[in-house]
């Protein structure tokens, strides 16, 4: 396949074209990815998430710079960046502005930046982000930084895509009750307080630290559903809390050090393998859900769905009854109906 060969030969235009084909759900894109898949699994996938405006893009920019020009004797790494911004639910359009903060990286052939619109997906990523990351991995980028949309409390999907997740906070972001709520903070492998030169950084650090102290006497706090085995005692990774001023490059060396340390920890404790397994299973599950849903929708008689919605509106059916009515019409026998709707 010429496209695959060109991508493997490092042709950047071919790579850019492939990413578009994948984003557009084009069959050539999937075929190329099928051929490239055996070459994936090399890159360190790093997620960067946090609320809008905390400085995710600036931090990504600085981390990439530090990885390209290491001061500490580490070899320079090639870096790909996938930056996701939200698609408007009204127009379907998007304004992708993350590159504005990444201008320092331009002109470096060891860096490839791609902006993605979320295209209707919730959870902070786009429907094809995982596939785009695979393509970049196969193309040979050693580190892939994945920046989510500005995330609130529930956009935790990045933790299932990345090996290492950085949660970025900034001073003034709420009290210690916010910090012990479920969600974003639970997925952090690194906690970064950006804009740490601003007032309130101490308070933020104290809140995060008290959250960690509550969570860590009992070991790691990742939900069991992610199939990540509990590490043996003494091998627990406690997320470091790091302070940065990304616009000035302060604290970045420590962040990069922690990223390398986390990768080393994952490999030394065989958790890298466990995460890979959880990650790939999750990617498969997502695709399966989408494909089953599409197949089932295609199998419905014309207008039937709309009719059920109307009956729902008239209060003739409850949502639960509507579900039964829809699934009974599908080609699956009702007794063992697969649960299509999570």
């Amino acid at each position: 396949m010429p496209l695959v060969d060109e991508v493997l030969a490092g042709k950047r235009l071919a790579l850019a074209r492939l990413l578009s084909l994948i984003e557009n759900d084009a069959p050539e894109g999937w075929a190329a990815l099928d051929a490239l898949y055996p070459r994936t699994g090399q890159a360190h996938l790093i997620g960067v998430t946090g609320a809008p405006g905390v400085g995710k893009s600036s931090l990504v920019n600085q981390i990439a710079r530090a990885l390209r020009r290491p001061q500490d004797g580490e070899p320079p790494r090639t870096v790909a960046i996938v930056a996701v911004d939200p698609t408007s639910p009204f127009s379907g359009g998007a304004l992708l502005g993350d590159r504005v903060r990444m201008r320092d990286l331009s002109g470096d052939p060891g860096v490839f930046i791609r902006s993605m619109a979320s295209r209707g997906a919730l959870g902070g990523l786009a429907p094809t982000t995982a596939a785009v990351v695979q393509a970049l991995d196969a193309a040979g980028f050693e580190v892939i930084l994945i920046e989510t949309v500005g995330a609130g409390q529930a956009e935790v999907e990045i933790a299932r895509l990345a090996h290492t997740t950085i949660v970025v906070e900034s001073p003034g972001g709420g009290d210690d009750i916010q910090a012990i709520k479920a969600g974003l903070l639970e997925i952090a492998d690194l906690l970064v307080i950006n804009k740490a030169d601003r007032p309130g950084a101490d308070l933020t650090e104290r809140a995060l630290r008290s959250m960690l102290e509550l969570g860590y006497p009992h070991g790691h706090h990742r939900p069991e559903a992610w199939a990540v085995a509990e590490p043996p005692p003494g091998e627990t990774w406690v997320p470091p809390i790091l302070r940065t001023v990304a616009t000035e490059g302060k604290g970045i060396a420590e962040v990069v050090q922690a990223l390398h340390a986390h990768a080393a920890y994952l490999r030394a404790t065989s958790r890298w393998h466990a995460r890979e397994q959880a990650r790939l299973k999750d990617i498969l599950d997502h695709m399966l859900q989408a494909a089953l849903l599409a197949r089932w929708q295609a199998s419905l008689p014309q207008g039937h769905y709309q009719e059920v919605v109307q009956r729902l509106l008239r209060r003739e059916l409850s949502p639960h009854q509507a579900l039964e009515a829809l699934l009974n019409l599908s080609p699956f026998p009702s007794a063992e109906t697969p649960r299509l709707i999570p």
Partner: protein, 138 residues
């Protein structure tokens, strides 16, 4: 399944610091359902061509108010071609003297927009041009 969206890079080459026009156009294109990559102020032609390549855009919109368009635009076009992106449609907006417009169009610019152009005109022109370009490829 056809999931194609028109991807547009909006860039400000050169040294002037006025990006209001570029932002208005970016916003209008977003509202028209396009995916707009906005790169910010003071971009060199090299930075613009590199971003256009990595983002695999259909369209590059250049906003220039500095008067340097006769230097900057040909350089961007040249770099796009050198990168194998001769199919990318280039539009120019800003303060462009009437007498320079024919030369820009002759270089390969699709259209030049002055102050006061309704955003709807730009949206429609881009849609039409992208459709035509896709038709000629298929």
């Amino acid at each position: 399944m056809d999931q194609r969206k028109i991807r547009v890079l909006i860039a400000k080459p050169g040294l002037d610091g006025h990006d209001r026009g570029a932002k208005i156009v970016a916003r209008a294109l977003r509202d028209a359902g396009m995916e707009v990559i906005y790169t910010g102020l003071r971009q060199t032609p090299e930075m613009i061509a590199e971003a256009a390549l990595q983002e695999d855009v259909d369209v590059v919109g250049l906003s220039i108010l500095s008067g340097a368009h006769m230097t900057l635009v040909p350089r961007v076009l040249e770099l796009l071609r050198a990168n194998g992106q001769e199919h990318v449609l280039v539009f120019v907006g800003g303060i462009i003297p009437e007498e320079d417009v024919p030369a820009l169009l002759a270089m390969g610019v699709k259209a030049v927009y002055g102050p006061g152009t309704p955003t709807q005109t730009i949206v429609e022109d881009i849609r039409r041009a992208v459709l035509e370009a896709q038709g000629s490829v298929a």
